[in-house]
């Protein structure tokens, strides 16, 4: 319990998702999802392919637009039911305001192939946030140094291994100085021997106090690093709680099946 003057603000959850729904045509992908993430916590979102977990993550920074529901990140609150009826301009503005609060790391890295590693990192800070180029370069070099890629600053993404590209993806996200880090299956496209580097880096970030929502199949990472695990099934958060409970002693039969299948694939 914090006793600092702005205790109330600091204690408020960094992210709240209330009653968020989303359909693609006839396919109801998210059904009234609620989720709360405390400041400094890591929440692992697990679930089968097609369960809606990636869509949920993408709704948090406006890459998808929920049909209804409220998303609040670091004090920025967007009620999609009312924004949706307010026209395209208003919607764009709302999505932009959410995006300002978070940064995403993609499954397939999505680095800009026509720019060098360091240019990838400073693109957002310089072009969008209007920071000075020299200052952004300095920050970018420090971040690259930290993830062991200082010598790759002037390489192009395709000259890097998958694991290196994903670490650049993480650095690009960090350089935006977001309140919230979103990870969309960050290790799923990597060769098995490269997964470790990326997970170690993510564990370090968690230890540093970054607030993170991580969609992942890495149960061991979830068990060791996450404060909470959310199991998504058929567009609903079926079960949420500490990893020991959700992964160790699931209440729901669906969760139990899923965890068993991931732990014992054969």
């Amino acid at each position: 319990m914090s006793l600092s003057p702005d205790a109330e603000r600091a204690d408020a959850p960094l992210l709240t998702v209330e009653d968020v729904s989303k359909a693609f045509g006839d396919n109801q992908v998210l059904r009234s999802v609620d989720l709360t993430v405390e400041r400094g916590d890591v929440v692992a979102v697990i679930g089968a392919s097609g369960s809606g977990k990636t869509t949920l993550l993408r709704c948090l920074n406006g890459l998808e637009t929920p049909d209804a529901g409220v998303v609040s990140v670091a004090g920025t609150r967007v009620d999609f039911a009312s924004v949706g009826s307010a026209g395209a301009k208003e919607l764009e503005r709302a999505r932009g305001s959410l995006r300002d609060q978070s940064a995403m790391v993609f499954q397939h890295y999505n680095l800009f192939p026509h720019r060098t590693v360091i240019e990838n990192v400073i693109e957002g800070p310089v072009v969008v946030q209007g920071r000075s180029r020299s200052e952004a370069l300095e920050d970018a070099r420090a971040l690259l140094e930290r993830v062991g890629l200082a010598d790759k600053a002037d390489s192009y993404p395709h000259q890097l291994s998958g694991g290196q590209q994903q670490r650049v993806g993480i650095v690009r996200a960090l350089a935006l100085k977001p309140s919230l880090l979103l990870f969309d299956e960050p290790t799923s496209a990597l060769d098995p021997e490269l997964v470790g580097d990326v997970l170690l880096l993510m564990r370090d970030l968690a230890a540093e106090g970054w607030t993170m929502v991580v969609v992942t199949h890495e149960l061991q990472f979830a068990r060791e690093v996450a404060a909470k695990v959310a199991f998504v099934d058929a567009g609903r958060v079926l079960e949420v709680g500490p990893p020991a409970q959700v992964l160790g002693a699931p209440r729901e039969e669906r969760t139990r099946q899923f965890v068993r299948r991931l732990t014992h694939p054969l």
């Binding site: 995006r99 999505n110 800009f112 957002g124 072009v127 969008v128």
Partner: protein, 222 residues
């Protein structure tokens, strides 16, 4: 058949000059303006606004569905009858730019669509709006895809400029016609004109090849 070699060499100077001061600048200017039109039409075509995309669709359809010669004649011989008189040079540039723009628009549109969807998402993620994403992320990548087909468009354009001889442009082919009419050596002059076009296109093709083979530091073959 006797070939009048002295006439051949004597004509080569005026023909080359006509190419340098007529054909080549006409093709270059029309191509640059045409590319501006093409990018605009391609972006309009991709717009969600149905009126805007419909307008671009109509433009592309009209250009691709009518002969270039008809387009040239409408601008040069047609417009004066409604009081708009335009000289050969600007007429040729207007008609050729519109023509190239219509064809290249589809190339540019396809190139934009070929850029991975994840690139848009990454651009939005770092905070860009649509316009900045296009300018900084999408168009530079689309440009690489569009180089080979647009090189072909340019080479076709160089040859198409010969049609402007019919709206009194003094360019390579018209010069050949003039010399042929004067000397009555039709076979020689028209074959010679063809050779000059061929040489220009050979140069452009080798330039195209070099452009395409340039070590591709930007984009890995996915």
């Amino acid at each position: 058949m006797d070939i009048d070699w002295s006439l051949f060499w004597e004509s080569l100077g005026p023909l080359s000059l006509a190419a340098v001061v007529g054909t080549i600048p006409l093709a270059l200017v029309s191509f640059v303006l045409g590319m501006v039109l093409a990018v605009a039409a391609a972006l309009m075509r991709l717009s969600k606004n149905r009126f805007v995309s419909g307008l671009a669709r109509l433009y592309i359809s009209v250009i691709r569905g009518t002969p270039l010669l008809v387009q040239l004649f409408v601008v040069f011989y047609g417009l004066p009858s409604i009081g708009v008189v335009i000289n050969p040079w600007p007429s040729a540039i207007i008609a050729l730019s519109l023509n190239v723009g219509g064809y290249a628009a589809e190339v540019v549109r396809a190139a934009i669509l070929s850029v991975d969807k994840g690139q848009w998402e990454a651009a939005y993620m770092v905070g860009m709006n649509r316009r900045t994403a296009l300018r900084r992320v999408i168009l530079p990548q689309a440009a690489r895809v569009a180089v080979p087909p647009l090189s072909n468009t340019f080479i076709s354009l160089v040859k198409d400029t010969s049609l402007t001889s019919l709206i009194l442009m003094s360019e390579l082919f018209r010069k050949a016609q003039e010399i042929a009419a004067f000397t009555q050596e039709f076979m020689l002059l028209y074959v010679e004109a063809g050779l000059v076009y061929w040489v220009i296109c050979l140069a452009l093709s080798s330039g195209q090849l070099r452009l395409e083979r340039r070590p591709d530091r930007h984009v890995a073959v996915a």
